[in-house]
């Protein structure tokens, strides 16, 4: 087990290195010029040339890459072109809202999706099953931002249940914090609920067909016990796998949802940084997100052995 973890950890290094080089080269080839942006809405050509020089944008590409990689290894992502702040500080400021949104979304997803998936499998072929399936297909098909606007319109404007926008840190109290996260979490979770309900249903259905389940019934165990103890446990591996895949989706969804609800998280930072050609920030965000993705998938791999004793490393 320990050997496996070390091996997996080592394997992430080339992956992240690949990401870093790829991201650097990609962004340096963009046509936008951060110097022109920095000079302001009506800056003059002289001012722009000056700024280019001071940012080191006139150095050869390879030199810039070398300096940048060296700094990253020391944990220094450089300074944002715009905010005169360290990128790492900028990212730290934005972590909390994103983490909060992602966590509530994940909890909501699991709390809703797994039961309805199990229910649909258990009541296979009934109207319950069919409505869960219909919802899961429809949930994939509505763009996140359209859903967001509809929810705001209905539940924040027409019925004044939730705030329209914004974020309050948990340090302001649990209620204001959660109150503002309800609509964004619902918006973001619909697509994952659709996805995970579907997988849960499929996995449980498959397990229910297996011999040992029949044996369990034959032993006279109650259906609920069978369902929860045997079926769900054995269906857990594919479900957890899909949650892991969902992390990539979640990150994409966060970018859109944060824009719609004005949540000052990493997603908003990403869009701002891309539109402003803030290279150091974009690079750092992509690397951070990729790192998170890799780590979570590592954790998921490890969790297999907990969920399914047959899997040993």
């Amino acid at each position: 087990m320990f050997g496996f973890i070390v091996q997996r950890l080592l394997a992430t290094i080339p992956v992240l290195g690949m990401v870093a080089v790829f991201v650097f080269l990609m962004l340096r080839l963009t046509p936008g010029d951060p110097a022109a942006v920095l000079a302001g809405d009506n800056g003059t050509p002289d001012q722009i040339a000056q700024i280019r020089e001071s940012l080191g944008l006139n150095e050869p590409l390879l030199v810039q890459l070398g300096i940048w990689l060296g700094n990253i290894l020391q944990g220094d992502f450089g300074q944002s072109y715009f905010f005169k702040k360290d990128v790492s500080e900028l990212i730290l400021l934005r972590v909390e809202p994103t983490l909060a949104l992602a966590t509530t979304t994940l909890i909501l997803t699991i709390v809703v999706a797994v039961p309805i998936g199990v229910l649909a499998a258990y009541r296979h072929g009934t109207w319950i099953d069919r409505s869960v399936m219909a919802f899961s297909v429809a949930g994939f098909s509505v763009p996140v931002f359209v859903l967001g606007y509809i929810l705001i319109y209905l539940f924040a404007m027409e019925i004044d249940l939730f705030p329209v926008q914004g974020y309050k840190p948990i340090s302001d109290g649990f209620w204001p914090f959660i109150h503002r996260l309800v609509l964004p979490s619902i918006t973001l979770s619909v697509i994952y609920i659709a996805l995970i309900a579907r997988i849960t249903r499929a996995s449980v259905l498959e397990v229910l067909g297996e011999d040992y389940i029949r044996t369990a019934y034959a032993k006279g165990l109650k259906p609920n016990t069978v369902l929860l103890k045997h079926a769900l446990r054995n269906a857990a591996v594919p479900i957890v796998t899909v949650i892991g895949i969902g992390i990539a989706l979640l990150i994409g969804g966060v970018v859109v949802t944060e824009s719609v609800y004005n949540i000052p998280g990493l997603g908003r930072l990403t869009v701002d940084a891309v539109l402003g050609r803030d290279y150091p920030t974009i690079q750092a965000i992509i690397i951070v997100f990729s790192f998170v993705y890799v780590v979570i998938n590592l954790l998921i791999d490890l969790s297999y052995s907990l969920l399914d004793p047959r899997i040993r490393y």
Binding site: V23, A248, V256, V271
Partner: protein, 311 residues
């Protein structure tokens, strides 16, 4: 956004392929999901192809005096020779006075094309890379490391960054949506190759000296078709949605070319006053994606017996 489900679909084709063949087409056609999805998609394609004949005008024709009109607004047009005719803005107009109906209808062309082209491109590239890397061991580890790297970057982030790479345009957007899809196809194809390589009949073919390309074409390729078709439909649905999201974030196809995504993106700030610019393209988009997804589900059920047993 649907690239999750197909990972459970990567089982190899079954042994009873031959007996299945005769009835396969029948099964596919009879499947209600395929029927529904196919018909709706067919209508959409028809709309896209026939756009100029559906009572539309030039979708980029601007007229500031007629901006922000509600659906159903009528306008009397006097031609040069003095004759008058009435034009009805069925779905209203946008902030430049363009006819939303015409834009939505023409938008079908681009949105569908984006979905289709992205699906074809990522399948084609993924198939070639997957086949080759699945069969050539030393290449495999290099290719898979690159794919791991690509996959580690969240798709939307990668697409956003890629679009800002070049001038925003149709080609850029298509490439930006395609690239993040490729690694998944590669993995799918590779896993099929790996599993088939161990099959006795392939080992037999190798032992009698059949050359690798021939083995790939004769034995491996046919086994990839069914899962790839299924995967392709999901990629198509995903691509249509991602295009809309890119437009929403301001890095999509330029607004001169109407797509459902950029009609909505342009209409979104006026959502509360003039919801029609979000509503109509939104409905078309959702229905189309739904149809493609259902087509995919149906195809998976019928083409992939392992899954058929389950659902």
């Amino acid at each position: 956004m649907t690239e999750g489900t197909e990972h459970l679909v990567d089982g190899a084709a079954s042994a009873d392929a031959a007996s299945r063949k005769a009835t396969l087409w029948e099964q596919v056609v009879r499947n209600p999901s395929v029927m529904f999805g196919g018909i709706v998609l067919g209508i959409m394609v028809l709309i896209a192809v026939c756009a100029p004949f559906l009572g539309t005008m030039d979708p980029s024709d601007i007229d500031p005096a007629w901006r922000n009109k509600k659906p159903g607004t009528e306008r009397v047009i006097t031609a040069d020779d003095g004759t008058q005719s009435t034009w009805t803005y069925l779905m209203g107009t946008d902030t430049l006075g363009r006819d939303t109906y015409s834009r939505v209808i023409y938008g079908a062309q681009v949105s569908l094309a984006v979905g289709l082209v992205v699906a074809m491109l990522s399948l084609a590239i993924g198939l070639v890379v997957g086949l080759v890397s699945g069969y050539i061991r030393w290449l495999d580890s290099i290719v898979m490391r690159v794919m791991d790297g690509l996959m580690a970057i969240p798709g939307i982030l990668l697409a956003i960054a890629l679009v800002s790479l070049a001038d925003a345009g149709l080609v850029t957007v298509i490439l930006a949506i395609t690239i993040p899809e490729i690694p998944r196809v590669v993995r799918l194809v590779r896993s099929i190759v790996l599993s088939i390589r161990e099959e006795p009949y392939v080992e037999a073919a190798i032992s009698v000296g059949t050359r690798v390309p021939l083995i790939l074409i004769r034995h491996v390729l046919p086994n990839t078709i069914a899962p790839l078709i299924v995967q392709g439909t999901y990629i198509c649905a995903s691509a249509i949605l991602v295009e809309a999201i890119l437009s929403f974030l301001g890095v999509g196809i330029p607004p001169e070319t109407p797509t459902w995504g950029n009609i909505m993106a342009e209409g979104r700030i006026l959502f509360r006053v003039f919801p029609h610019n979000i509503l109509f393209p939104g409905i078309f988009l959702a229905i189309t994606v739904l149809a493609v997804n259902m087509l995919g589900d149906g195809l998976r059920d019928t083409l992939d017996p392992r899954m058929r047993k389950r659902l």
